[in-house]
Symmetry: C2
Subunit: 218 residues, 2 copies
């Protein structure tokens, strides 16, 4: 049985590949493992069948013959543990890759999500414009630190890993904000990730869902 993941039937980002299934698709493509995608509507996210798999009503979920998971970080780690290519074999090197996965999702991403959420939910509020510099400063703070650490290296820990996959997936959410461009090494880091054939296959996979939904009038 091929693992099955869930993704949005209707791309909220018009096929830009910014939803959380993208990192999971990319991981499958990097390790060359086949997978199936089950598309869910926004209404279905709230239903008990989906909540049983994902208590917070989000995508992606992941099911293989042995277990069912949610949280893109945990799913990417599961894929990386079952197939070679995204995690070093040696335990302490693996620990450092997992460290970057946590850093991407719990240190770098939250201020980016917060900025997105303000644009989505608070754009009509009187304070929206006044808070923008604050929100952008928080993102800048993380990007400055990350840029310093990356320096002129290609990847965070020697060779491409699940840590880079997750970090690039997070940084892609900044496209259009102008913030990434303040750090040329982060721009080329993201471009290096996006240039990988596995990234392109994953991107095309999610883009095909957007095109199909669009032509169906969805």
């Amino acid at each position: 049985m091929k693992p099955v993941i869930t993704a949005f039937r209707d791309s909220p980002d018009r096929g830009q590949g910014l939803a959380r299934d993208m990192a999971v698709r990319w991981a499958f493509e990097e390790v060359g493992a086949p997978y199936d995608v089950r598309l869910v509507t926004f209404a279905e996210l709230k239903e008990p069948a989906h909540r049983a798999l994902q208590p917070f009503g989000q995508i992606p979920t992941y099911e293989d013959s042995e277990t069912a998971l949610f949280e893109s970080g945990a799913i990417v780690l599961r894929i990386a543990e079952r197939h070679a290519g995204l995690l070093p074999a040696e335990a302490s090197a693996r620990a450092r890759v997992i460290m970057w996965m946590f850093a991407a999702l719990s240190t770098v991403e939250p201020p980016i999500v917060e900025h997105d959420a303000a644009c989505l939910v608070e754009s009509e509020e009187s304070w929206f414009a006044a808070r923008q510099p604050l929100l952008r400063a928080r993102i800048r703070h993380r990007l400055g630190d990350l840029s310093l650490r990356l320096g002129d290296a290609d990847w965070l820990e020697g060779t491409f890993s699940a840590g880079d996959l997750m970090m690039v997936a997070v940084l892609r959410r900044l496209h259009g904000s102008g913030l990434l461009e303040e750090h040329p090494n982060l721009v080329t880091y993201v471009a290096r990730g996006e240039a990988r054939p596995a990234f392109k296959r994953a991107f095309d996979g999610q883009y095909a869902v957007f095109i199909a939904a669009s032509s169906a009038g969805g």
Copy 2:
């Protein structure tokens, strides 16, 4: 060599154990592994020596004879992988515990941190009061989902695990907000975690640092 972690020399929460070294201390105590703590000042967090260990200038860091890590999630996982007691042996059950660690840090915690940040940074702003319902609604949304999933179980995956350790550590940040109290099963879940002897030893460890700093006039 005992692993060495870093923690704040001056507790920003007056010994309540809400800083991120708490989960790491708790993990060491659960598995019965000795560790040393190196205290750092806020000024030292910005220095190159600390940045080499923690590029984002935070605590905790972790060093053992084989590797150096940051990110509390990654450190707790490292401790859980080197010692029995916090992770199931079987791979798919382990994956579900790691899933809850990611859920704690990247799904449940961000809106809690956001609420804390607003109180810290924006309390003098004209919009502060008006935004409170929005910030609290985001936390409520996550707590409602988590409460439903937990139901009347003691722990998230059968027996106490690193997933519960991380989730309880995150939920403890809500003490005083009144939000946890809307879900009696989450209140008892947190209390069950705090009643563990290992939690108490970890709490006492960080509290002793606060007392020492206070009596030193720090």
